[in-house]
Amino acid sequence: MTDWIIVPVVLPAAMAASIVLVARFDLALQRTLSLATTVFLLGVAVGLFLLARDGVPRPYLLGAWPAPFGIVLVLDRLSALMLVLTQLLALLVLLYAAAGWDRQGRHFHALFQFQLMGLNGAFLTGDVFNLFVFFEVLLIASYGLFLHGAGVRRLVGGFKYVTINLLASTLFLFAVGTIYAVTGTLNMADLALKAAQVGPEQAGLLRTGVALLLVVFAVKAALAPLHLWLPGTYGVAAPPVAALFAVMTKVGAYAILRVHLAVFGGAGSPAIGLVEPWVVPAALATLVLGTLGVLGARSLQRLAAYSVLASMGTLALVLAVPTSAATAAALYYLVHSTLAAAGLFLVGELVAERRGAMRDELVPAPPFPQLELLAAGFLLAALATAGLPPLSGFLGKIWILDALRGRSAWPWLWAAVLVTSLLTVLALARAGSLLFWKPAALAAPAADPPPPRPRPLVPLVATATLLALPVLLAGFAGPLAQELEATARQLYARQSYVEAVLGPSSPPAPLER
């Protein structure tokens, strides 16, 4: 059964290659292969999630090399949760894109599968250098997807996006090298053991390496002041691609959880207490800047991009708190904000393609077809994004506020979360009234409205499903909360993780450095 752990990494890789080689000129076959793979992967992810629910981390030894000498993948509750979230989002985005967006450039489906391979690998790996490799895989695929259907704006923005990520990758290597130089290992379980044995003369060096790694993950998670790449990327990419990218910032958040809080957060580690003093101010700045961006955005897609930024700020506020109660709240908001942001991107594009030359600019325009339906969809997406009841954004924010209570300066953190929520509500209400109410007030449409073109139903269904998920998250919040609390507790149960990967009777080898 544990052999299935490798499937979410190997299957998309094989399928991406086959799509390029076999189905290069046959878009219908590409769609079939890609959709079938993603459906299957969702099934595998759900299976792995159920498998991981017993609370035992399961290592998969690549090439059967024993840890820590070989590379391991580790399935635990957290990685299984991220797998399910990724496949679910990917399937809905792919359904949306397969209705026509994939025709705008070549190799969309191959790149999409490579992207899935990188994401799944990053969530499953139990080795820090392997994490770097999977980061590169998902970034390479994301460069291709970002440039999909390229225009001038995307090419100019693409260079900046690639450059900032290459710089971050270089920094990642410096960090990994420093950590290896001190501990002599890169296996996460082994690192958790060795970090506690590092002597005082080497502790500063290890802290430096771990702090560098925090900078790298902060770039990925778009925390201020390293967030400037995000609006120009998410606001410009093809909307289905931007919707998929909603999960990419969460890879950075996941990596901070896994590496900084779980691996280097154990008793005796010199890198303990590194995250909170740095990440909380950065998160506050991200939240404020993101909300200002939401207020100032002139198109729906840029608004959605800045809302991703604001939600990363909210998430990082509670992510930095190293207790399992706070981490459970962070995980709930992580799942919610990924789905809500993707929903907002897709609704925005549905509106944009019906408004003709106006696209999704926030200016009044004549009425467009299916206005009421899309207004309802936008309302759902906006409620979820702003965090208003009754959807999961509200529950997520309440839970975050509760988790923050008692931390240093918590009244200020509360004030920031509440005031930015209010401003987001204002911005979204203004955008909604401009898009959906102003048209009704404008003069009647031209005498001869063009005959309605048949519109594909699949994108509507995909978007509606995506928007229904925050409703489900709110409806099943109780069982989900228990699940996430168990996930957070398992993350901090370092001993069982180490024993699962390195074997039960692992006397820590002395540190020879």
């Binding site: 250098f129 390479i140 290459l166 290597l173 090298g177 290896y180």
Partner: protein, 113 residues
């Protein structure tokens, strides 16, 4: 030897950072290359600088050198090589489409002829 390698990494990084902060694409690409050279040498040194020892345990040899950083460097070289190729193509396409490779997406006013 330590001083030489350390100052080499330092100089390469400084050059790389300086070039990455320039406003046009070509110096930035060069800067990224310099940074990747710097990190390769740095990774190589993380296994400690050892001369004339085999990278495997050999009873006849007086010791061994850590083989893992060499594997890491190899991976890093392959990735940075591919990335440099991609970023060069991207810079070129962007320049051809936008007519300028300045970071602002257009020529600064004082340099325009």
């Amino acid at each position: 030897m330590e001083a030489l390698v350390a100052s080499g990494v330092g100089v390469l990084t400084a050059v790389g950072v300086y070039l990455c902060l320039r406003g046009r694409t070509f110096p930035v690409v060069l800067g990224l290359s310099f940074l990747s050279y710097a990190v390769n040498v740095f990774l190589f040194a993380t296994g400690r600088l050892v001369v004339g020892r085999p990278p495997i345990i050999d009873p006849a040899a007086p010791g061994y050198t850590d083989p893992l950083p060499q594997a890491l460097v190899l991976t890093a070289i392959v990735i940075s090589f591919g990335m440099t190729a991609l970023v060069v193509v991207l810079a070129l396409r962007g320049f051809l489409e936008a007519g300028s490779d300045h970071v602002d997406g257009r020529e600064p006013r004082d340099e325009r002829r």
